[in-house]
C-alpha cells in the first residue's frame, strides 16, 4: 500500500469519526459557532469511534474499515433519529460588526495560524511517529490492540511491560488502533494524521468560542498565539497524548465558561458539553481528571451565589464522567502500582522528607525552565497586569493549581526529580498553553475598557444586565458602543472605536 493510499484511508477514518461526532454532538452544540461545532464533533467522534472499536473487539469481530464504518453509521443514525437538538443558552445571533482595520488584522492573524498549523502538519506527517512515549506505550498499546484484535490482559498484567504505564487511559491507543483499522495495516506515518486534526480542532475551538463570547479579534489572537506554540505542536509530540489533551483542556474551559454564564441556568446542552469535555480529558491523560476536578472547584466557587441545583449539576457534570471512566479503567486493568511515584512520601513518617524535595523541584523549575522562558513569562505578567478581568479569569487559579500539582508530582517522583523536571516539565506545561490562550484572548476584549468585576446575581430578572467584564466593556467586542456603553466610558470607547 502506498503512503498516499494509507493517508487517504486514515483520513477516511478521521472523517468517519467526525461524522459520527457531528451527529452525536448535534444534541448539545446548537447555537455554537461552526468552528466550535467542528471541534466538539471531532472530540465526540473520537470518543464514539473508540467505543465502537471496543464493542467490536468485545464481540470478537476483527475491526476493519467496513465494520467500524457501519457501526458508527448505525450509532450516528440512531442519534439523529431519536436525539433531540437543544441549543445552548446565551448564544448570540447578531452579526459581527468590526471596523476595517480590525477585520484586516483578524485575517492576518488567521493566516498566521494557518501557516503555523501547516508547519505542524508537515512535521507530523513527514516521518513515522518516533517519540519515545509513542514507541514505549501510546503507540505500542495501539499496535498490540490493533494486531491482536483485542485488548490483551498482558497489557495490564505482564511484568515485562513495567515501563508501559499500565495505569494510563487508553483513548489515544484505541483511537490509533481504530484509524489503523481504516488503513488496514499499522502504518505509523499515516496514523499521525490524528495529531494535526486535533491541533486544528483546538485552534477552531479557541477562535470560535472567543468570537462568540468576546470578539472576533480575541478569537484570532488566541488562535494565533496557540498555533505559535511550536514546542507543543512539533513533530516530536506526534504519537503522544499531548496534542489531543490540549484540545480536551480547551473544551473543558469553553464548556465551563459557558456553564458559568448567569443566564445559562441548568441548560441541558451546557451540562452535556461539560460532561463530554470532562470525559474526553480524562480518557486522554491522568491529569485530565485532575484538571476537570479543578475546573469543577472553580465553577463551584464562581457559582457560589447561584441556585444550589445549578451549582451541583454543573459540578456533577464535570466530576462524574471522569470518575466513571476511572472506575471502568480500574475494572479493566486492576490495581496498578504507580511506578513513577514514591507514594510512601505521603505517609506521616516521611512528611518531613517532602519540603526539601519540593523546594528542590521548585528551585529547578525556577532556575532552569522559568529562566529559559523568562521573557514569555514577563510578557504574560505584563499583559495580565495591563488588561482588565476577562470572562475566563476564574480559571487562572486552576492553571496555578495544576502547575502546583505537577510540582508535587515531580517531588515524589520515583526517579531523580531533577531528571523528571528536565525531561517532562516543559512538555507537560505546554499542553496547558492553548487553554491558557483562552484566558489571554478573553482579555483582548477588555483593551481600553473600564474595569468592572463580573458578578453573579441570581436575583436579577434580566441576566443580560449583569454581563461579563470581557463582554460588556470591550473596545473590540461585538457589543462595542452597544447598550452597555452608556456614560462617559461608553463615549470614550465609541470615540476610540471610531
Amino acid at each position: 500500500m502506498t503512503l498516499v493510499v494509507a493517508f487517504a484511508r486514515a483520513l477516511l477514518g478521521l472523517l468517519t469519526a467526525f461524522g459520527a461526532g457531528v451527529a452525536m454532538s448535534r444534541a448539545f452544540t446548537g447555537g455554537l459557532t461552526r468552528r466550535e461545532k467542528a471541534a466538539w464533533s471531532l472530540s465526540t467522534g473520537l470518543l464514539v469511534q473508540a467505543l465502537c472499536l471496543l464493542v467490536l473487539l468485545a464481540l470478537r469481530v476483527t475491526p476493519r474499515a467496513l465494520n467500524l464504518l457501519c457501526l458508527e453509521a448505525v450509532v450516528a443514525g440512531a442519534v439523529l433519529m431519536f436525539g433531540r437538538r437543544q441549543a445552548g443558552v446565551g448564544v448570540r445571533e447578531e452579526s459581527l460588526k468590526v471596523s476595517g482595520w480590525v477585520r484586516a488584522f483578524v485575517v492576518g492573524l488567521a493566516v498566521l495560524a494557518v501557516i503555523a498549523w501547516l508547519v505542524f502538519l508537515v512535521g507530523a506527517l513527514s516521518d513515522a511517529m518516533w517519540a519515545t512515549d509513542f514507541i514505549a506505550f501510546w503507540g505500542y498499546k495501539g499496535k498490540v490492540i490493533f494486531l491482536s484484535s483485542g485488548v490483551p490482559r498482558r497489557l495490564f498484567e505482564d511484568p515485562a511491560l513495567y515501563f508501559a504505564h499500565r495505569e494510563y487511559p487508553l483513548l489515544v491507543p484505541v483511537s490509533l488502533a481504530a484509524l489503523a483499522s481504516f488503513v488496514g495495516e499499522w502504518n505509523d506515518q499515516a496514523l499521525a494524521i490524528l495529531y494535526p486534526a486535533c491541533a486544528l480542532a483546538t485552534l477552531l475551538a479557541l477562535s470560535g468560542f472567543l468570537e462568540r463570547r468576546v470578539s472576533r479579534l480575541a478569537g484570532a489572537v488566541a488562535a494565533a498565539l496557540a498555533s505559535l506554540c511550536f514546542f507543543l505542536y512539533r513533530p516530536g509530540n506526534a504519537g503522544t497524548a499531548e496534542v489531543p489533551f490540549a484540545l480536551g483542556l480547551v473544551l473543558v474551559c469553553c464548556a465551563a465558561a459557558d456553564a458559568m454564564r448567569p443566564e445559562a441556568g441548568t441548560n441541558a446542552a451546557n451540562v452535556a458539553r461539560l460532561a463530554v469535555a470532562g470525559l474526553f480529558c480524562a480518557c486522554l491523560k491522568q491529569e485530565g481528571t485532575l484538571f476537570a476536578f479543578l475546573v469543577a472547584a472553580a465553577m463551584w466557587w464562581s457559582l457560589r451565589r447561584a441556585p444550589a441545583r445549578r451549582r451541583r449539576l454543573g459540578v456533577a457534570a464535570l466530576v462524574i464522567p471522569p470518575s466513571l471512566h476511572w472506575a471502568a479503567l480500574y475494572l479493566l486493568r486492576g490495581n496498578q502500582t504507580r511506578r513513577d511515584f514514591d507514594m510512601t512520601l505521603f505517609e506521616p513518617r516521611r512528611w518531613l522528607d517532602l519540603p526539601p524535595l519540593i523546594a528542590l523541584v521548585l528551585g529547578r523549575m525556577l532556575g532552569t525552565e522559568a529562566r529559559q522562558s523568562a521573557v514569555a513569562l514577563a510578557a504574560i505578567a505584563a499583559y495580565l497586569f495591563m488588561t482588565r478581568r476577562g470572562i475566563l479569569d476564574p480559571f487562572i487559579p486552576v492553571f496555578a493549581a495544576q502547575l502546583a500539582c505537577y510540582a508535587v508530582a515531580f517531588s515524589v517522583s520515583s526517579f531523580d526529580p531533577m531528571y523528571a523536571v528536565d525531561g517532562a516539565f516543559r512538555r507537560i506545561v505546554m499542553t496547558l498553553f492553548p487553554a491558557f490562550a483562552l484566558v489571554l484572548g478573553a482579555r483582548v476584549g477588555t483593551f481600553g475598557a473600564a474595569y468592572r468585576v463580573p458578578e453573579w446575581d441570581h436575583q436579577s430578572s434580566e441576566p443580560e444586565a449583569i454581563p461579563d467584564a470581557g463582554e460588556s466593556s470591550s473596545l473590540f467586542s461585538r457589543r462595542a458602543g452597544g447598550p452597555h456603553g452608556a456614560g462617559m466610558t461608553g463615549k470614550i470607547r465609541k470615540w476610540i472605536a471610531s
Partner: protein, 144 residues
C-alpha cells in the same frame, strides 16, 4: 479633562498589552525551525511520491540505524504469538522500546525473563557471541 487623562492611560495600557502579546508571540515562535521544516517538507514530498527511505533512516532509529534491519529480521523469523527475549544494549532505553514496538504483537521481554521466551535474539552484546545461534542480520537468534 478627567476623561482625557483616562483615555491616555487607557491607550498606554492597551499599547503595553499589545506589546506584551507581541513579545509572547515572538518568544513562542522561537522554537520554530525553518530549515528542519523545509527538510521535512522535502522528505514528505519524496515519500508521497513513492520514494520511501529505508526504515533504518527513520528518525525513530536515530540512535542506531543498523538496529532496524535486525528487528525486521527477527520479526520475519518468529511467529506473531511468540515470546521473544531481546538482549540488546541497555542504553539508550530506546533499544528495548523499539524492540517491543517493532515486534508487537509478539511478546518481547528483557534478558531477565528469557526463560519464558521461545526465541532469544541478541544484538551487539556479549551474549551474542555464544555458540548455537543462527546468524541473522546484525545479530543472532536462538530457538529454544
Amino acid at each position: 479633562m478627567k476623561w482625557a487623562a483616562s483615555l491616555r492611560a487607557s491607550k498606554i495600557r492597551t499599547g503595553i498589552a499589545v506589546l506584551s502579546l507581541l513579545v509572547l508571540a515572538v518568544s513562542l515562535a522561537g522554537s520554530f525551525e525553518p530549515a528542519a521544516t523545509l527538510a521535512r517538507w522535502h522528505h514528505l514530498a519524496r515519500t508521497l511520491g513513492g520514494n520511501a527511505r529505508p526504515e533504518g533512516e527513520a528518525t525513530g532509529f536515530w540512535f542506531d540505524p543498523d538496529y532496524a534491519a535486525f528487528l525486521a529480521d527477527v520479526k520475519k523469523r518468529t511467529p506473531a504469538n511468540a515470546t521473544v527475549a531481546v538482549i540488546v544494549p541497555f542504553r539508550p532505553d530506546l533499544y528495548r522500546y523499539q524492540a517491543y514496538y517493532q515486534l508487537a504483537p509478539r511478546r518481547a521481554v528483557e534478558d531477565r525473563w528469557k526463560d519464558e521466551a521461545a526465541f532469544i535474539a541478541t544484538y551487539r552484546t556479549d551474549a551474542g557471541r555464544g555458540p548455537g545461534g543462527t546468524p541473522i542480520v546484525n545479530g543472532q537468534l536462538w530457538t529454544r
